[in-house]
């Protein structure tokens, strides 16, 4: 290949979403994150002889819900298979997964590729499987410690077609699925805790060739930032290899965020030969039309539709509606404040402005915000009815954030009511004019355009004198009246 070859990147993603069930997929052990090692690992999870798996209906329903939301086929009959391999965190020597007849097949989802263009990403299949345990290689001198709390947690593996052509598209697709599973309430989407993780299959080919190149699989990517970096690194690595006359080998690679590189996982280089076969311990699953109908009714308004509605009904910008629909928590928060205030744009500004800033600064989730949607909505209403100015509202918001009570209480306690008494405002305006004679002269001798600018100076002075409490539009009006006389 010569150096001028133009390369096309081909990416397919496998996403593992941990389903938000209370108990494991085949046993009644808890799935709660963060428990002490092996306190949530019982006979079935440990793979003790003589135990039998019993399927958790919620895991099935959640998978069906996902399938319905991506317009996929959900066959009446679905089966589980054994995927055979040996590793200490897989005590049975096989993982119960699905091979033939997965629960969901042939769905699709639309992603934005830039401001104006969209693209369909096909989803080949989504199948149910159990998670493996966790190995701890670091804390024991000559041993590996095995924690089987995670063993048997329900996973939905979502497999895309190789329809993405750069890291950005891959991240957009991933974010879309991440948002969707949270809206459907089938996964908490927590990437730090590993509830939502992804493997990327990456290959390159000359732009004019049909045939796919040899792909590398990058494992266990658990943040959007790392996924983008890992794919970009891997594409550069493959181009460099081929352009220097070498070959890409099919292998599993691990991304190292500290060094920003991917490296080969030699231990897994052995040819994958999982010898799948239907699990004789589990009968097929039947999904009736009735079940599907019932689950379909539980699907809430999904982000794409919500976004369009915010633009068309609430007159919000594309930017605002994108941000307000990223996850159901923020959308619910927004809708609650909107219900109270009927002021979409003001709500959007406060949520994406002061509220987001405070959440980020203190590293708090919206769910745990000290300022509830109700509190924010009530405060916005007090701006609307001129009890406080937008500027004072920032002080009120901060006080609410610090737990000083709701807006009304804070305004009363700190005496922050806007001054709308025109006599009182007039008094301050008159004072200000007397104290700033040179500027008054300047104003009087200025063009209309210049006057417009100078009036701001006076408004500022008056507001400062009134500690921000004077009603700005009244101040403006009075000043003009007096100065233009």
């Amino acid at each position: 290949m010569n150096k001028n070859t133009e390369w096309q990147t081909i990416i397919g993603l496998e996403i593992h979403a941990q389903l938000a069930t209370k108990s494991k997929i085949f046993s009644g052990s808890s799935t709660k994150y963060g428990a002490a090692p092996n306190t949530q690992a019982n006979a079935v999870d440990l793979g003790l002889p003589g135990v039998l798996p019993v399927i958790n209906e919620q895991a099935i329903f959640m998978a069906v819900k996902f399938g319905l939301a991506i317009g996929a086929e959900i066959p009446k009959k679905s089966i589980f298979a054994r995927k055979n391999y040996f590793y200490p965190d897989l005590p049975k020597g096989y993982q119960i997964s699905q091979f033939e007849l997965p629960i969901v097949s042939n769905g699709q989802i639309e992603i934005d590729i830039d401001e104006n263009n969209k693209k369909i990403i096909r989803i080949t299949r989504a199948h149910l499987e159990e998670d493996a345990g966790k190995s701890n290689h670091d804390d024991f001198l000559n041993n590996t410690g095995v924690d089987l709390n995670r063993a048997g947690n329900p996973l939905l593996e979502i497999v895309s077609e190789p329809d993405m052509n750069n890291a950005k598209e891959a991240v957009n697709y991933l974010k879309k699925i991440h948002s969707l599973v949270q809206y459907l309430k089938i996964c908490d989407g927590n990437m730090q805790e590993g509830s939502f993780r992804c493997d990327a299959n990456v290959s390159i080919r000359p732009i004019d060739k049909e045939e796919l190149g040899i792909r590398a699989e990058i494992k266990n990517l658990n943040s959007f930032k790392f996924i983008e970096a890992a794919i970009n690194y891997e594409v550069d690595r493959q181009i460099e290899l081929i352009e220097s006359g070498k070959k890409v080998v099919q292998e599993t690679r691990l991304y190292d965020p500290n060094k920003n590189e991917t490296r080969s996982m030699r231990s897994k280089e052995e040819a994958n030969d999982y010898r799948y076969f239907p699990d004789p311990d589990l009968l097929p699953i039947l999904i009736t039309d009735e079940t599907k109908k019932k689950i379909k009714e539980e699907i809430p308004e999904l982000p794409d539709i919500k976004r369009k509605r915010y633009i068309s009904e609430l007159d919000l910008s594309k930017y605002d509606s994108n941000n307000l629909t990223i996850n159901p928590d923020i959308a619910n928060y927004f809708e609650e404040t909107f219900r109270i205030t009927k002021e979409a744009k003001m709500c959007a500004n406060w949520i994406m402005g002061d509220l987001s800033a405070s959440l980020n600064k203190n590293n708090i989730n919206l769910k745990d915000s000290p300022v509830s949607a109700k509190m924010l909505g009530e405060m916005i209403n007090l701006i609307k009815n001129n009890t406080i100015s937008g500027k004072i509202a920032k002080v009120v918001f901060e006080a609410m954030w610090n737990g000083d009570g709701n807006a009304k209480e804070i305004i009363e306690n700190k005496n922050l009511q806007q001054v709308t008494d025109s006599k009182e405002i007039e008094k301050i305006v008159t004072e200000t004019i007397t104290e700033n004679k040179p500027q008054v002269e300047q104003y009087k001798n200025s063009s209309d355009e210049k006057k417009q600018k100078l009036i701001g100076f006076f408004v500022g002075k008056v507001m400062k004198k009134s500690k921000g409490k004077a009603n700005p539009s009244q101040v403006n009006e009075l000043l003009r009246k007096k100065l233009d006389n």
């Binding site: 069930t21 209370k22 108990s23 046993s27 009644g28 052990s29 808890s30 002490a36 090692p37 092996n38 306190t39 949530q40 690992a41 019982n42 006979a43 440990l46 019993v54 399927i55 958790n56 209906e57 919620q58 895991a59 099935i60 009959k77 089966i79 055979n84 040996f86 590793y87 200490p88 033939e100 007849l101 190995s135 701890n136 290689h137 804390d139 024991f140 000559n142 041993n143 590996t144 410690g145 095995v146 924690d147 089987l148 996982m265 231990s267 030969d273 010898r275 239907p278 004789p280 589990l282 009968l283 097929p284 699953i285 039947l286």
Partner: protein, 95 residues
């Protein structure tokens, strides 16, 4: 159908079985016989028959999503070869 020595060794490796060098020939024959039997079954025309995923023509009963198990780590670990700090210990696995 015949199997060669390396195929037998690979199958044994995948199943983590240690096999005697001397037994390979007989394993070859026995496994080849099984494959022959399957090939014989494959020759039956089943085009009009729906594949069966399980010998019982039934569907799974599903379980309600409730936590029914409690922490029994102590009991389970009493049977383990080696444990520490709540972990099951195995020989070091090098990545």
């Amino acid at each position: 159908m015949s199997l060669d020595k390396s195929e037998i060794q690979n199958i044994a490796l995948l199943a983590r079985l240690t096999i005697d060098e001397d037994d390979i020939a007989s394993h070859c024959k026995e496994l080849a016989d099984i494959i022959d039997l399957i090939e014989k079954m494959n020759s039956v025309d089943t085009a009009s028959i729906e594949p069966l995923a399980h010998p019982l023509d039934l569907f799974s009963r599903l379980r309600t999503d409730n936590v029914t198990e409690k922490n029994e780590r102590e009991n389970f670990q009493a049977n383990a070869t080696e444990t520490k700090d709540g972990y099951y210990l195995v020989p070091k696995v090098i990545e």
